[in-house]
Symmetry: C2
């Protein structure tokens, strides 16, 4: 009985996600869904990415999801980029219906890239499609290299994995080689980027990947 | 309708949690529920705590919750402490029924402290009572000082807040004074500990607090 209810919820979510995807296609907008633990650096990566998109002449908007507060959207809006904050009011993930409602506040015709910053959580965000083209996952090295075993769905579904806070790796026991081997076994096609959003190290390859996604997805 | 379903789920959980609490009382066992983001250092704090309990002559057991894997329980069992791993099979939190089932594998009569290590998640674990006496929350400084605004329930319900990875604070922009002020406003009674589970800094006060809980709760 409980399982049935969950199935219905997910099916409805998938239908709304498909409608969102159709709307993105109609408006020629590429959509990335950023997911990570709390504090892995999603908002900082968003800000680095919007600076790169400015340089590349790609107009974008951001939808930020959080349980409460508008801390993240405020940080993004300070850069002159349209930002919509969704407060989930307790839910630990964004769902397709929240995005559908949030889209009322986004002028899709004027952008080519939409970044959705999900609620900080390695579990449920991976289960709810939003209509996005690509799932981007961040992991900071300070979280430890054992996370793929504990949160396998998130790591196996990501299209891109940004390994952040590389400037701090010397203070951790993070085994980069072993970690990357584990990821390759779980998810052979994922693109990996090793970066520090603080020092800027490694961000060039990431920026190029985002530009490539926008060009390929929006023609 | 959806709200009603959620209410029923939470009420049932509360009933089972009350039964767990009665069982803990009957067996004279103090119970701490450890919660944090993935990678904040819960398992390492558990290991530091079990070493301190050995020194204090307090027998304990650990229940570890994770979506998948037995990485955490394996780490604990290596120290000769009874450890039970609960795999939630997708659920982003432990609930009272999972603990009730896990208790079948714990010899409560032989211990005075049970540590429950929840799934790494700052959202739903705060909503599900397990029957524990105290909620212990960890935050690592590498996650950033803006987390209380984004995850207010967890921070306002904690009985103890362990601020971990203080050895890395020099590489972050974490504002400890501002953070502690925010916490005091949200949760005036919380006990705060600033520690590094790696260097051992600050753990003495934490160890004393745990011993005090066991003495007060188990008489």
């Amino acid at each position: 009985m409980e399982v049935k209810v969950l199935k219905d919820i997910l099916e409805t979510n998938d239908n709304i996600a498909a409608a969102n995807a159709a709307k993105f296609k109609e408006n020629n907008v590429a959509v990335l869904n950023f997911m990570s633990s709390p504090g892995a650096g999603k908002t900082t990566l968003v800000i680095k990415t919007l600076e790169a998109m400015k340089r590349a002449g790609i107009p974008l908007a951001v939808i930020d999801g959080d349980i409460a507060s508008s801390v993240d959207a405020d940080r993004v809006a300070a850069f002159g980029v349209p930002a919509v904050q969704i407060n989930t009011g307790g839910a630990c993930h964004l769902d397709a219906n929240m995005i559908r409602n949030g889209l009322d506040k986004v002028d899709l015709a004027s952008i080519r890239l939409l970044i959705i910053e999900n609620v900080g959580n390695l579990v449920c965000p991976a289960e709810f499609k939003l209509g996005e083209h690509k799932k981007v996952m961040l992991l900071s090295v300070t979280e430890g290299d054992d996370k793929p075993h504990k949160y396998p769905l998130m790591f196996s579904e990501a299209d891109a994995l940004v390994i952040n806070k590389i400037d701090l790796i010397g203070s951790t026991n993070f085994d980069m080689e072993g970690f990357q081997k584990t990821i390759r076994e779980m998810n052979p096609d994922v693109e990996m980027f090793i970066v520090s959003c603080t020092s800027g190290e490694g961000l060039e390859a990431w920026d190029e990947w985002v530009v490539k996604q926008v060009r390929e997805l929006t023609g």
